[in-house]
Symmetry: C2
């Protein structure tokens, strides 16, 4: 993660600021609290691209009417283990939070529960929802499709999103396992970091407008803007030699479970535009699920094995020159501890943007020294 | 896939041969039929490494008593949407087949169903079980953990298996989507092909005994034999720059869902040995699941969207120098059509081995010219 050099803010202050901003945008208080909590959770965990850096987009989306403050989300179909929810173009976070709650309740009732959501918006970090399962001794899973930025294997144009998969499983003495990964090699934000530093891209991250792998950072970002072709490569890179078709397949799996199964917009239908070029509601889809651990085996046995699995990995011999083998989620838990204690370092551009939003809406923006 | 140059056999003949071999090894007829069908399905689909090439290992496993012909597999726990089955060291295929049947029945009953299996053996291709969901208009998922061959990111030794994930979703006019992928960059069989050809490995496939990426094919295979360290790299390759930690995370996810959740042996506990060095029953775990499509949305709507998704990808502009964008499963369906028509080309070593097994057990082995 790139070092941030801007001001530091307390998580609680940032959250309270976001709640007030959302309320000024006519979001009901509970929805505002949920959305703020998901955003600031990203900043705490060090996933800066998915935190308050996106507040401007939400404010604009609500202002432009492509996100609705009172969507009246509805359960369309329901069975003991499944449900489909229509988000009706509301903010992604509140509908996602409640869909995951419903999936967990079903897991508590019948062993496993799955809820898909259609006609939704960006929901923040996928890991947040998977992690909601942990305190109820469930394994959680969460996916979403997203704006098309990734080229399919042998294709020229971006047709699938970075379509993330998150899975969280509880442990005993050790921290929970939390996998939260885009199915592309890297997210778009990583290219922006390289661009700011004027660095060429490593081979295998992106392709140019002919679909050929490239190291030209600025060109790839320019092509995104102009929709000129090319894009991010799926996990595994270009072609099939290093498994790029697997990353592409995982992205399709996410598209199918999140969007085709729910009736949301999939692939490059995801973020439609009106004939006059103005954006329409994004209509993306999410997928949430939970398995109750003790529907399979006693929780204490499961947790003891999770601890042992982690210790086995952590204590294993390291590759030459390496000092640590990580478990997924570990870095983010450590970062969240640091940032809870020391404050969240904000990118100066993001900080300025938050201050501007505060001034526009008449919400006080507080900073720590 | 490497071109096979040996004799060709008809799928039905190969299947009938395997059924008789298994029956000679005291496997009940129905179990023998299931196991033969799963093996020959791999050969039909072009996944030669997982087909009858493994028959010798099953025969030896049964002979040595580490696979039991009459295991009396038992349901340990059950809820409306879940079950745990103890395979009691029987062949992987029959218990996997019935576990998937049970998961599908639960999906038909309550919308979704998940069955984990513990104390099992190699079950063949993961895709076979996921595909069982298709004809009942369900989406299927199947995973298994496996012998440790893959090094965790920054680690020196193989601790996780190639832990495959398979997902199958029905379509309308188009073929079903069938993703069936190891979570390593390549499977071990690919290294064996390179070794036979005397070719160096591409960078990013494997590491040497210090955990450093290597292109020395023979050395990696030798290190496997001697358990000297190193192994296959997870999808995404070495380190984190190209997402190797994501492939490693997916492998752990499979280990957790298949083995930690079921009470099977996970990580490098998977294939234990007795104090005298003799192998013990493998005790691996599987994970099966199904979602009933119309628990979410009408089947015809889902299938129409699956068709459209596939056409959108297939008809998209190709990268420079490329002529085709594939959908997952497409290559295997085409290969199965070819091989059903023309016979299955057997590797000469495999053919000789089958003939030897036939002679040992008194089963006639028939070949097509």
């Amino acid at each position: 993660m790139p070092q941030q050099t801007g001001p530091r803010v307390r998580a609680e202050n940032l959250k309270s600021f976001c709640v007030q901003v959302f309320q000024k945008m006519d979001i009901p208080e509970e929805d505002a609290r949920i959305t703020a909590d998901v955003l600031v959770a990203a900043d705490l965990r060090g996933v800066d691209s998915h935190g308050v850096a996106r507040l401007r987009r939400y404010v604009n989306g609500l202002r432009d009417g492509i996100m609705r403050p009172h969507p009246n989300a509805q359960v369309v179909t329901e069975t003991p283990a499944t449900a489909l929810v229509d988000a009706r173009a509301g903010l992604g976070q509140p509908v996602a939070y409640r869909a995951m709650e419903r999936a967990i309740q079903k897991a508590l009732d019948v062993g496993a529960g799955f809820v898909t959501v259609r006609n939704s918006n960006h929901f923040g970090i996928a890991g947040y929802y998977a992690m909601m399962a942990l305190e109820l001794n469930c394994i959680g899973i969460s996916m979403t499709n997203a704006f098309p930025l990734v080229v399919p294997t042998f294709g020229r144009d971006a047709i699938v999103g970075t379509n993330p998969i998150a899975v969280a499983a509880p442990a005993g003495q050790e921290r929970p396992f939390v996998l939260d990964m885009a199915t592309s090699t890297v997210p778009r934000g990583k290219l922006e970091v390289y661009n700011r530093l004027g660095k060429p891209l490593p081979e295998g991250w992106a392709t140019d407008e002919t679909g050929t792998p490239t190291t030209d950072t600025a060109q790839v970002l320019e092509n995104f803007k102009r929709q000129a072709g090319g894009g991010l490569l799926p996990l595994g890179g270009a072609g099939e030699s290093h498994g790029g078709h697997k990353g592409y397949g995982l992205a399709l799996m996410v598209d199918i479970l999140s969007a085709v199964l729910s009736g949301a917009a999939y692939a490059n239908l995801t973020y439609p535009k009106a004939p006059d070029g103005k954006p329409l509601p994004s209509a993306i889809g999410h997928f949430f699920g939970a398995w109750r651990v003790d529907a399979f085996r006693p929780v204490n046995e499961f947790k003891a094995a999770m601890d042992d699995l982690q210790r086995r990995l952590r204590d294993a011999t390291k590759a030459e020159g390496q000092t640590r083998i990580y478990i997924h989620g570990e870095k983010e838990y450590e970062e969240a501890e640091r940032r809870s204690r020391d404050g969240i370092p904000l990118n100066p551009i993001v900080a300025a943007d938050l201050r501007a939003i505060g001034e526009e809406l008449g919400v006080a923006y507080e900073e720590l020294g």
